[in-house]
């Protein structure tokens, strides 16, 4: 899936439209596109993604850069309103998920607003921000027309990104890869980074040629690190960083991961990532930033069993979730400091009056990291001891039994 504004691009109608072709004399002065060395015969001219010939040439380029067998996949361009209508029709009759208490829990940690967005709001948010999507169940691509020209390198690269997903699907079956479903926020982000990261990296590689650049001169490392900074900055400004992490983390860290794998092993160098995907965001971040010790599996945290409290939801926020909280708290270098994560478990309970309570437990690599969670937070208590920390929250008062249990866990009782 390709999201808007993850790469700044020419967005004005005055640039790149097929109605403004350069004069023959001007065109002669511009150097012809420098082909990617791995795809010397591909077509690098900007083209209209609504045209079948363009779709074929972009699909061929995608297969070439990824060293895959060419694939024909249905491609449809929908207006934003038509895409919204499609999503609404598909959602009709599907009951709304029960997330109210989980939303409240995230709000205590400033990872989400208190009010759950309506289905219509979520659909509109998605449609507004998505440039293209590959639908693995239907094996088709939708490009969302946001009113910009359809024949720019930017939109051509978007189509290429989605074709890469189709190629991934052909190799690995995206509906089932890698076998075990990812059950947590942390695991889903780590896994999505493989899928979106590879597509993002090949998009960057191809777009360099589409922009008229000689790829031999392009500094991909710098561009992808800037891309990472950009997505992190977006999250710092977000009022829903938990939700928006799905639209940022996999692209920022994933593209770096794919680039480094490509540097090591060429186009099929990413096969190694597919065969052994990162299990946690900490593992991915530690490897890509070259910091700390990568943790492939999280430590498990024990479940409190307290009379009167029923487990409502459970999740693992991971190092990335820890980073989000630290960033919200104004901690300096949150990404680096979050790498001390060794395991966490966020659990939401309800009492007999259906009031929600949160207990977020963390195992960390240092006492300094654990102490970062003891800041005063409205409606919550945060404590640490040695390398353990917890945050417990409640609407009216922190549940004494829950906090007492967490205190005992802190000290290893």
């Amino acid at each position: 899936m390709r999201l808007r504004a993850l790469a700044l691009a020419c967005a004005l109608a005055a640039c790149g439209s097929s109605e403004d072709e350069a004069s023959p004399a001007a065109a002669a002065m511009l150097n012809p596109p420098t082909p990617l060395p791995e795809c010397p015969d591909a077509d690098y001219a900007a083209c209209d993604v609504r045209e079948p010939d363009c779709q074929s040439s972009i699909a061929a380029l995608a297969a070439c850069v990824r060293d895959s067998e060419p694939l024909t996949v249905p491609i449809e361009v929908l207006s934003e309103s038509d895409y919204i209508a499609l999503l609404q029709a598909e959602a009709e009759g599907t009951p709304d998920a029960e997330v109210e208490h989980f939303q409240r829990a995230l709000a205590w940690l400033e990872l989400a607003p208190e009010q759950t967005a309506t289905r219509e709001e979520e659909i509109a948010h998605h449609a507004t921000n998505v440039l293209g999507v590959y639908r693995s169940k239907e094996k088709r691509i939708i490009i969302v027309d946001h009113g910009k020209p359809a024949d720019t390198p930017y939109i051509d690269a978007t189509l290429l990104h989605e074709v890469v997903h189709a190629l991934q699907d052909a190799d690995y079956d995206l509906t089932t890869w890698p076998g075990e479903p990812a059950q947590t926020f942390d695991a889903r982000l780590a896994r999505n980074a493989v899928v979106e990261g590879e597509a993002d990296f090949y998009e960057y590689r191809a777009v360099a040629a589409l922009l008229g650049l000689d790829v031999a001169e392009v500094d991909f490392e710098s561009a992808l690190l800037e891309h990472l900074d950009f997505v992190q900055a977006r999250l710092s400004e977000s009022t829903a960083p938990y939700r928006d992490s799905y639209a940022t983390f996999p692209y920022g860290f994933g593209a770096l991961q794919a680039f480094h794998a490509w540097q090591d092993g060429g186009p099929r160098g990413t096969d190694a990532i597919w065969a052994s995907p990162p299990g946690t965001t900490q593992q991915l971040m530690a490897v890509q930033l070259g910091l700390n010790e990568p943790q492939a599996t999280p430590l498990e945290l024990p479940l409190p069993e307290i009379e009167g409290l029923t487990l409502y939801a459970s999740d693992v926020l991971g190092a990335w979730g820890f980073h989000l909280v630290l960033d919200m708290d104004g901690v300096s270098n949150p990404a680096e400091r979050s790498l001390d994560w060794r395991g966490d478990r966020l659990r939401v309970f309800t009492d007999t009056d259906n009031q929600p309570y949160l207990l977020w437990q963390l195992e960390l690599a240092s006492e300094d990291a654990a102490r970062l969670l003891t800041r005063t937070r409205a409606g919550c208590t945060g404590r640490s001891f040695a390398t353990r920390a917890f945050v417990s929250c409640g609407d009216h008062e922190v549940r004494d039994e829950l906090t007492s249990w967490a205190d005992a866990w802190l000290s290893g009782e």
Partner: protein
């Protein structure tokens, strides 16, 4: 996103009166000659269309840093510009766009754009060489050469550096 200085010249140029004089003829191709051609074209357009509530001898454009030949192309367009456009709040906007698209492409523009596109890419900003060459064609050689000097800056400095160059052109 396309840098704003591809159009800042127009905004900057709307302030101040035309400095055209009837003294010695400026060198053909110079900024002065180009500006004179622009102003003459605008004046002729106003008269042809009998645009109301306009001083036909008041130009109002002096886009600093623009190439003389480009400005002359704007003037040629204004002579035959649509009357509705001439009567609008931005009478020369369409002609500036036309000039950008049709003015001769100079090697200095190509050199600037190849450098800009490469270094903006390094900074996670996508601007094709072709789009740049169309958007930047009206800037003069000295300003573009000055801007190239910004391209080796770190990403957080690059944009600021170019802003200064294009807001205070040579």
């Amino acid at each position: 996103m396309q840098p704003f200085w591809s159009w800042v010249g127009i905004a900057g140029g709307l302030v101040g009166a035309c400095a055209c004089s009837s003294g010695d003829e400026p060198d053909a191709g110079s900024y002065e000659a180009g500006l004179a051609a622009l102003c003459d074209g605008l004046s002729e357009g106003y008269r042809r269309c009998r645009v109301r509530n306009r001083d036909y001898d008041y130009c109002g454009y002096s886009p600093e840093g623009y190439d003389g030949q480009g400005l002359a192309a704007v003037g040629a367009c204004l002579r035959t510009e649509d009357c509705e456009a001439l009567a609008s709040d931005e009478p020369a906007a369409h002609c500036f766009d036309e000039a950008r698209r049709t003015a001769p492409l100079r090697q200095v523009v190509v050199d600037y754009c190849e450098s800009a596109s490469l270094n903006y890419f390094r900074c996670n900003s996508w601007w094709s060489v072709e789009d740049c060459s169309e958007g930047m064609r009206l800037w003069n050689d000295a300003t573009l050469l000055n801007a190239v000097g910004c391209h080796q800056q770190p990403c957080e400095e690059l944009s600021n550096c170019e802003t200064i160059v294009f807001e205070h052109p040579r």
